[in-house]
Symmetry: C2
Subunit: 126 residues, 2 copies
């Protein structure tokens, strides 16, 4: 699975979230869940491979379906679930935005920051 | 205060985090805290303006100081705290990376996504 919150270099994470009102319509966790549903063919199997409860996965799917103008996940004839064409498009666009944001990890400023940061933090004082 | 986790358009948030080992060396909350300390001249006053306990602010400062090769916040002669020149530089570089990441909010993909998203989510089923 492609990590939704990618680590560009050792020390940088860039996270893209799309909001609909106060709800997260798309973000790293929901994008990874869509990929898993497409691969596994059901919400329950996708949840299992992600170490997530079925209830949690179902709530994420329900939030996505309520936030976009069409459902991203739909029931499959004969059982299970599938990512709709609409859901595939949303996922593709989201990945493109994520990739563009990650371009910030290649500028001179981040290289400068990475020279100033420690490989490991000093221990916290007791 | 400049918001660390900026909203580019109504629905997009892009968050940049720099890790040192498992600790967050710099992110939206820590960047905002540095700005507040520089303005207020003490960790306690900065914490107050951010609605954060002194202990929480102190822990964030301690984590920053342990993650970078030099302290970002230091005691001021005569009392209070100040952001060091090193801390100012780190903050400036971080803001530059954040601004670059936010450039992803101006591409055609995000415009497309914003046309597909609802203004508000549909209500959750009871």
């Amino acid at each position: 699975m492609i990590a939704g919150m990618a680590r560009l270099k050792t020390n940088l994470k860039i996270k893209v979230q799309l909001y609909c009102g106060d709800e997260i319509a798309m973000g790293p966790g929901k994008a990874d869940l869509l990929v898993a549903i497409a691969r596994e063919g059901s919400i329950s199997a996708a949840a299992r491979t992600m170490g997530m409860s079925y209830r949690r996965a179902w709530l994420l799917v329900d939030a996505m379906n309520r936030c976009w103008s069409e459902p991203l996940v739909a029931a499959k004839a004969g059982g299970g679930a599938q990512v709709t064409d609409f859901g595939s498009d949303v996922l593709d666009f989201y990945r493109a935005v994520q990739a563009q944001a990650e371009g910030a990890g290649e500028g001179p400023e981040i290289a400068r920051l990475e020279r100033l940061i420690r490989a490991e933090p000093l221990p916290a004082k007791a």
